[in-house]
């Protein structure tokens, strides 16, 4: 049994079906990537799984327990934690305070981090611990978002476009930090548009299109899948590519 099981998950906004019966199994010992064109339902999937938006149908199980629609803070306390596309932080507080708030909530978890400082060391922000979060450059703000999420002692971390807005070297450094998480017992499920990074980083890719899962498997296989190529390149370009 996978740690996170999603069964027939549906989400409708009025007449728009954002998720149309998604099934997923995600474990906590690997990096799983979720890809798909804009509007395919990736962020909505995270929102519904983590209780930010209520599900219209289907169910989410965490270690076998039904956590559908139980509320965002309760899900976070079960150590299923997500980040937003915008860095998750409080701009008016210091870097240390930001992480400390999350750490205070998460320290009843597995006690992985003895102090907030350890998390800052891990993500490379220790020298900036006294800086006001709102004054950080974008790359550091992204790291802070990750540090805050780690503070909650996640068992599975859902990262929504962690590399968005980063330059190549920042994105590579960020990916290196993410790659260190599964060996420490923190599973990662991430959304990103950088297919090279996703192919390198992920053990498994899941492809969504119009709220439906159209492919799943090792990155090499998934990216070679004709349905996935059609979604990304379009039917005409696919023909040209082949």
């Amino acid at each position: 049994m996978a740690a996170l099981e999603v069964r027939g998950l549906r989400k409708q906004f009025g007449g728009v079906v954002a998720l149309n019966g998604i099934d997923l199994d995600i474990d906590t010992d690997r990096v799983v990537g979720i890809v798909g064109p804009n509007g395919s339902g990736k962020t909505t999937l995270f929102n519904v799984v983590t209780g930010v938006h209520p599900a219209t149908g289907g169910a989410v199980f965490w270690h076998g327990q039904d956590i559908t629609n139980i509320g965002a803070h309760r899900i976070a306390r079960k150590r299923l934690v997500r980040t937003f596309q915008q860095a998750m932080s409080f701009p008016g507080l210091t870097v240390d305070e930001n992480v400390r708030i999350a750490w205070e909530q998460g320290r009843k978890g597995d006690g992985r981090w003895a102090s907030p400082g350890m998390i800052l060391e891990f993500v490379g922000l220790a020298p900036l611990s006294k800086a006001i979060a709102g004054s950080l450059p974008f790359g550091s703000l992204r790291r802070l978002g990750l540090a805050v999420a780690l503070g909650v002692s996640p068992e599975l971390l859902l990262l929504d476009e962690p590399g968005a807005g980063l330059n190549d070297s920042e994105a590579q450094a960020f990916a290196a930090v993410i790659a260190q998480l599964p060996p420490q017992g923190i599973g990662v499920c991430l959304i990103d548009h950088d297919m090279d990074m996703m192919a390198d980083l992920c053990d498994r890719l899941i492809v969504l299109d119009f709220g439906t899962k159209i492919a799943e498997g090792p990155p090499g296989e998934v990216l070679a899948d004709p349905k996935v190529r059609e979604v990304y390149l379009g039917p005409d370009k696919k023909a040209a590519a082949s």
């Binding site: 930010v52 965002a72 803070h73 998750m88 932080s89 008016g92 708030i101 205070e104 805050v148």
Partner: protein, 289 residues
Amino acid sequence: MDIFVQQLVNSLSVASVTILIGIGITLIFGLAGIVNFAHGEFLMVGGMATWFMVGAGMNFFVALVLAGLLVGALGFAAERCLFRFTLNRPMNGFIMSIGLSVILQHAVIRVFNEFQKSITDPVGLVWTIGGVDIIAMRAIVVAITAIIVAITYFGISRSRYGMALRASVADRDTAELMGIPVRRYVTGVFIYGSLLAGIGGALMISLFPITPFTGSVIIIRGFAVSLIGGLGNVGGAVVGGLVLGLVDGLSAGYGYPEWTDAYSLVVMILILVLRPQGLLGGTLGPKAS
């Protein structure tokens, strides 16, 4: 000089009541986004309860504590039964609070009557310090407020719960995703803010007579205090209360006393025009989702 010092103490005692109501308003707005117009009536109920208990022979300071607890319970009931349903619709909460304010006024008139109530000075002492006569109760009001402000400030800035509260005020959604039970904090803030209003009402009736309509006057001052300092900022409520209290006290002593309220509101308007976020910077309240 003597008159100036006396006016200063008077100003601080008036400021104390507005600071207590301002802290409640600012916390409730900052976290829940609710402009709670009934908060003034919470203060009035605290004052009326104190009048009733003191009239029944209870010690003033015991009555003060009980009034705080009573109004804290009223705040709990209001949040659980009413405002929790408007958390994502702050305008509904605002209109509801106006309705609640009128209902509380009428309830108090029904239980007692519409006439003003007062109690005798609970301490009845005048201290002479350096040749200046200071009414002891006014100094006690300032001291009680200072203690409450210190507890609130350190609780918010140093404690684990205070940090979580600040995080929730800054960004409710992010705080929830960190595992912070924001809804529980909203309830807690309602109870605490209401408790302070109850204590403020008790302190107020130890200084001035109050009527069932006092709340609708004091709420304007409470909002002025919160806006001057910066809505959502506890330190701002203290600074705003001091500014307004000094303007009140000194204008009563040296200007035209009948213009006291106008002076205060002119100061508020000027600050909001020149520094819309308030003197210490505030929040726009949580995003409505």
